[in-house]
């Protein structure tokens, strides 16, 4: 029996991993909802508004991008453009080589996950160390993050303690506080040795050229306090029109992502350090990265570019909770990933064309989205695109027989009787193999076919 890849992955997932992902995401979602509705009379107004602001930006990138570039330059920032992942990585390497640098400390950035920057730099003889605790653990484990905000939601403390021991970070100890202290001690000296600090960017204001970074651990701040060169890799869609729009977006980002009123560290950077400040970068680079975003912009799914990477849609998604992030085989998992990941593949769309099907279309992802992205609609558009391109879909029953039944009244009536029999038929005796496979993973409600016809015939007629 052949299932869709994501179903197969979910079926084989270890029970403790599933439990960790389920609990972590459910708790995150519940805290978020409570916080937003306790604090605001109508939090929906905020997210609808934030969605309009971001939609305005992406539909006017042709003017906002040059505006941002001009502001950054005026602030003393060196601006680079990278059309592809390779171009972005090469740009970083070139900056490092020009400085004679060999050591980089890295804050968490999703775009550098897209380009696999750390691997690339290591291949070229550079040290590129992840400093976010979760990303650091992923790096020493040669693993991949499984959530955009909580990268190791799929790991338990015993696995982490084992890999710390293996990597010379002390004898086995699975106390989360001890794990954190050991990472603190190890990493602080790495920051101080490094020459380059790399970050992403949560927002860039077109009005002031301010780059806004949010973290809780303080690792991006450490990168920017200890090193002499700051490189920020930023997706071209991260722009906000004005500084005042940050009031809206910062309030929503922290509450949606981690159920905090505000992230612990919210940093506004508009250039190299000031002359009187002894610590921090004397040189600042911003790399504006496309890597497939302009193709998304050209598609009918451009709304996904509003995304501010909070992870709320992952936490609420019934499919994500059961399947975990790695099931999506992509940097971006969950509902946002099911839309964005296939689109970012460009002409290799078909490799991930199954992801938009990994949804019950329940609509919860749009309800929690801080920028109100119509994710269910976009998923349908991508399913349609897959169908139009004739892509096959293992595990889906053929619809030819259905089409025949639905267009022949007599055959339909006969099938209603057959349908009733299905209530009593054990799954393994279902005669159609594809249907059998489908049913093995899902429970159908009891068949009640024919009720509508009965109602239609017996309804009171108009006087």
């Amino acid at each position: 029996m052949k299932f869709q890849q994501i179903d197969q992955f979910a079926a084989e997932l270890r029970a403790d991993t599933r439990a960790a992902v389920y609990d972590g995401s459910k708790k995150g979602h519940e805290k978020r909802t409570k916080l937003l509705f306790d604090e605001y009379p109508d939090p929906n107004r905020l997210r609808v508004l934030a969605g309009q602001v971001k939609q305005h930006v992406i539909e006017n990138l042709d003017t906002y991008l040059p505006a941002v570039e001009a502001k950054l330059k005026a602030n003393g920032v060196i601006v680079h453009w990278a059309a592809t992942a390779d171009a972005a990585n090469e740009t970083v390497l070139k900056i490092m080589r020009a400085r004679g640098a060999t050591k980089m400390v890295k804050a968490k950035t999703m775009v550098s996950e897209e380009t696999e920057l750390a691997h690339f730099l290591e291949k070229h003889g550079m040290e590129a160390l992840e400093t976010d605790l979760g990303e650091f653990i992923v790096q020493i484990d040669h693993d991949h993050p499984s959530h955009i905000v909580k990268p190791i939601i799929h790991k338990n403390r015993r696995e982490i303690a084992t890999s710390f021991e293996k990597n010379g970070l002390g004898a086995y100890n699975d106390d989360p506080q001890t794990i954190t202290r050991r990472a603190r001690q190890f990493l602080r000296h790495k920051y101080l040795e490094a020459d380059v600090g790399l970050t992403g960017g949560n927002f860039i204001s077109a009005e002031s050229g301010r780059l806004v970074l949010v973290t809780n651990e303080g690792n991006s701040r450490f990168c920017l306090a200890a090193t002499k060169c700051h490189i920020a890799m930023v997706g071209i869609e991260k722009i906000v029109p004005r500084d005042r729009d940050l009031a809206l977006l910062l309030n929503l980002l922290a509450r949606s992502g981690t159920a905090q009123d505000l992230t612990v560290y919210t940093e506004f950077i508009s250039g190299p350090k000031s002359a009187t400040q002894p610590d921090g970068p004397e040189e600042m680079h911003v790399i504006l990265v496309d890597n497939g975003r302009t193709e998304v912009l050209a598609s009918d799914c451009r709304d996904i570019l509003r995304c501010i990477r909070c992870g709320a849609c992952l936490n609420v998604c019934p499919v994500y909770r059961q399947a975990s992030g790695h099931a999506y085989r992509s940097v971006y998992p969950g509902p946002v990933g099911a839309v964005l990941s296939p689109l970012l593949m460009g002409d290799r769309f078909k490799e991930k064309a199954d992801l938009p099907k990994a949804s019950s279309l329940c609509g919860a992802c749009q309800e929690v989205c801080p920028v109100n992205i119509p994710i269910p609609d976009l998923l349908l558009r991508l399913r349609d695109k897959g169908k139009q391109e004739g892509l096959s879909s293992p595990g889906t029953p053929p619809m030819g027989a259905w089409a025949l039944l639905a267009s022949q009244p007599l055959a339909w009536k006969a099938s209603l009787i057959g349908g009733r029999l299905m209530n009593y038929l054990p799954t393994k005796l279902v005669p159609v193999p594809a249907l059998r496979a489908w049913e093995a993973k899902r429970t159908l409600p009891p068949w009640r076919g024919g009720e509508f016809r009965k109602w239609l015939h017996n309804r009171p007629t108009k006087p």
């Binding site: 508004l49 939609q55 990278a82 954190t180 651990e217 306090a225 919210t266 940093e267 190299p272």
Partner: protein, 204 residues
């Protein structure tokens, strides 16, 4: 790369060309994002102290209270911004060892760092550090205890106010409570890379 610039902007323009209309920038008042209920009819400093406590930070309003706090925690060796030290020195006893120069080769020696903050935000319990007034970025980050010193008049009521006052400093950081993570099994641990204890000393 300048080729990439032209390529990206070209693709952006052609992606947007078919749009017959573009989404307008909505007009709105940032007031809708403010927790006005929380702030109404209250002294902003009292709200600030409550909110900072809510994220496991501490607001103090006099120097002796700070000295006692540090002594009780056995944090006796630290750094102080040389511009602040003359005002604080007489309150610190001989049991303290306070340096007014920060040496980055001895990061682990400093149990506390006292630096000037540019202000605070009552709505969120946030302290605002600016490059222009922070004597050393590292001294406000690496010690276990960070003490941010600002005056009551520098307290903003809400977040939009603080945004409007960002000004032209090239590096501004808002710190809302101690450094923290919940990466390991969702369990809250404080003091990851930055301070495990965040104090705001608000003076008149």
């Amino acid at each position: 790369m300048s080729d990439d610039r032209e390529a990206i902007l070209g693709r952006v323009r052609s992606a947007l060309a078919p749009l017959t209309e573009r989404a307008p920038l909505p007009a709105y008042d940032t007031e809708i994002a403010v927790l006005r209920k929380l702030l109404a009819n209250r002294d902003p400093l009292a709200v600030f102290a409550d909110r900072l406590r809510g994220v496991n930070g501490t607001a103090l309003t006099d120097i002796p209270a700070l000295v006692k706090y540090l002594r009780d925690g056995k944090w006796l060796h630290g750094y102080c911004d040389p511009a602040l030290w003359p005002r604080l020195a007489s309150h610190f006893g001989p049991d303290f060892q306070v340096e007014t120069e920060y040496d980055r080769t001895r990061v682990d020696d400093y149990a506390f760092g006292i630096t000037r903050a540019a202000g605070g935000i009552a709505e969120l319990g946030t302290v605002i550090l600016k490059d222009g007034s922070t004597s050393r970025r590292l001294a406000a980050l690496t010690p276990w205890v960070h003490v941010a010193v600002f005056s009551r008049a520098e307290l903003f009521v809400d977040l939009p106010q603080a945004i409007a006052a960002l000004g032209d400093d090239p590096n501004i950081i808002w710190c809302t409570g101690p450094s923290k993570t919940a990466d390991v099994e969702g369990i809250l641990i404080e003091g990851v890379h930055g301070p495990g204890v965040q104090i705001a000393l608000v003076l008149d």
